[in-house]
């Protein structure tokens, strides 16, 4: 046979995206059937919940709760990224700093977030700033640890090369350490993104004063059961949007890495 082409190892992008939607459709169907079968107020059907979700995003809740939640998550995540990447690179690059800080880092990151919320409420009050601080207190660790790890495992030859070309201090970090550690940094950022969303909800439920977490808790307490399910759907969609945007961004920035991982390194 002439012109035999190797088929793609994993199905085409369209087929794979299609499978994702099919999975969602199955979940929705099961939910719908279960809701119809149980026929109880505490477990509304999928369609009832979807309608409630639609009400959430089309009512004033959008501006009073959803947008503040998005802002807090974005702020908490971005501040975590700046702190985590900077501190992570310094900790990873200097062995002495690593020795000094490892116990502190291990202590801090082991503290469960719900434990910190009451303290944050005392310090900052019931507001958005408390939510942002709580997000940072949880999301900074996966970024910091992955960055430190990625930095400490950079090939010494690479650092030597950078020094040969006069890169020192800030330039060394920005031009060599940051890109060299970026695959691990992105892995940490992705974990931190889902942590940010989860902590945002918990903090808002416990004392946000507003926000989607506050809305869900409030709807539940005022027997607006459909509303809380609607809120959950909205939250799930937000998580999905965040992750999709993140992956698009990562794919652009780490395009160089696909070739090196593809086994072409030692031709």
């Amino acid at each position: 046979m002439i012109g035999v082409k190797a088929g793609p190892r994993r199905g085409s992008t369209i087929a794979r995206a299609g499978l994702g939607w099919l999975g969602l459709a199955i979940l929705a169907t099961v939910w719908q059937l279960l809701g119809m079968e149980l026929h109880t107020a505490v477990f509304p059907t999928f369609i009832t919940s979807l309608v409630a979700a639609w009400h959430v995003v089309t009512s004033s809740t959008l501006t009073t709760d959803i947008i503040p939640s998005l802002e807090r998550t974005a702020a908490g995540f971005l501040i975590s990224a700046i702190i985590g990447i900077t501190a992570g690179m310094v900790i990873g690059h200097y062995e002495t700093v690593r020795d000094w800080t490892s116990a502190v880092v291990d202590f801090m990151r082991s503290l469960p977030t719900p434990l910190l919320v009451p303290i944050a409420i005392v310090v900052f009050g019931i507001n958005g700033r408390m939510v942002v601080v709580t997000i940072i207190s949880a999301a900074v660790w996966p970024i910091l640890i992955n960055t430190a790890n990625g930095t400490s495992t950079i090939e010494p030859t690479m650092i030597d090369t950078a020094k040969t070309y006069g890169l020192r201090g800030r330039k060394l970090f920005l031009k060599v350490v940051l890109p060299a550690a970026s695959p691990q940094i992105f892995a940490g950022l992705r974990v931190a993104l889902s942590v940010s969303l989860a902590v945002m909800v918990v903090a808002e439920m416990l004392g946000g004063g507003s926000g989607i977490g506050y809305f869900i808790a409030n709807a539940q307490q005022s027997f607006n059961i459909d509303g809380s399910y609607g809120g959950v759907i909205v939250l799930g969609c937000l998580g999905w949007i965040f992750d999709t945007l993140f992956l698009m961004f990562e794919r652009r920035l780490l395009a160089w890495q696909r070739g090196t991982v593809g086994g072409l390194l030692d031709v």
């Binding site: 090939e155 030859t157 020094k163 040969t164 060599v176």
Partner: protein, 268 residues
């Protein structure tokens, strides 16, 4: 000696091992490298050749002795000194194209002059047209040529090479040796190369220094009086080439025998 580019005087390097004890890698190495001279350092495996080169280039501080480059003692990698490492795949930055990698060596020039120098350096190593490729799109030999171009782009006075051809196959190695020879012939830089390949050292050098086993000293110095320019086939066919290789090899073997049992206890 005013015409020497590099003077290494009684260089001593000890490295602290994990358990805190000091390991003497280099005991006493001295060397004068004259303008446009090509000197190779060979030694048995584990004789601390890479450590010596790192100390001589200012990448690590020596424990004793001093290194004078261009009349000035160095405590950091000085301007005018370029280094090519063995592991091109760890030395080229994988997130930068070949052109941008090479441009790293010419950061101090204006944009226009930098572009011109990069273009010229890539032509010199036979990589013109590859500026927009990424390192992983190139073969090993091509990547090492890119690393050479990066070293050459700033017109260094001294080029240091650490086992520059150890990671490629034999034919590519011959080819790369000739690329280096051509660069050296057509330029004015002095070269200091560390290698375990005796044939390669003889083929390229004016002088070959043989290091003893660790803690290393200079065991012998062999002058290479082969005519230049040299050619892989004609030069290697001559009886003199064979004699010189045998002579160097004999000294390396001597050094190696003395070190059986302690070599390779620490990574090179």
């Amino acid at each position: 000696m005013s015409d020497s580019v590099l003077s290494i005087r009684n260089l001593q390097v000890s490295i602290q091992s994990r358990d805190g004890s000091m390991n003497e890698i280099t005991r006493d190495v001295s060397l004068e490298l004259k303008e446009h001279e090509f000197v190779s350092i060979v030694g048995p495996s584990g004789s601390g050749k890479t450590t010596l080169l790192r100390a001589a280039s200012g990448l690590r501080p020596p424990s004793g002795g001093e290194v004078i480059f261009d009349q000035k003692p160095i405590n950091d990698v000085p301007k005018g000194l370029a280094i090519v490492f063995q592991e091109y795949n760890k030395s080229l930055f994988p997130w930068l194209t070949i052109g941008k990698n090479v441009a790293m060596g010419a950061a101090e020039y204006s944009n226009q002059e930098r572009a011109e120098r990069v273009e010229k350096a890539l032509i010199q190593v036979g990589l013109s047209g590859f500026a927009t490729r990424y390192p992983w799109e190139l073969s090993g030999g091509m990547q090492q040529r890119a690393a050479l171009a990066r070293a050459m782009v700033s017109n260094p006075r001294l080029l240091m090479m650490d086992e520059p051809f150890a990671s490629v196959d034999a034919l590519t190695r011959n080819h790369l040796e000739d690329v280096v020879q051509r660069l050296w012939d057509s330029s004015t830089f002095a070269a200091l190369m560390v290698t375990h390949d005796v044939g390669e050292a003889v083929y390229l050098s004016d002088r070959v220094l043989v290091l003893s086993a660790r803690p290393s000293t200079v065991l012998a110095e062999i002058k290479i009086d082969l005519a230049r320019p040299r050619s892989q086939i004609e030069t290697r066919r001559t009886g003199r080439f064979g004699e010189l290789v045998a002579e160097v090899l004999e000294r390396v073997e001597e050094a190696g025998r003395a070190s059986v049992g302690i070599e390779d206890t620490i990574q090179k």
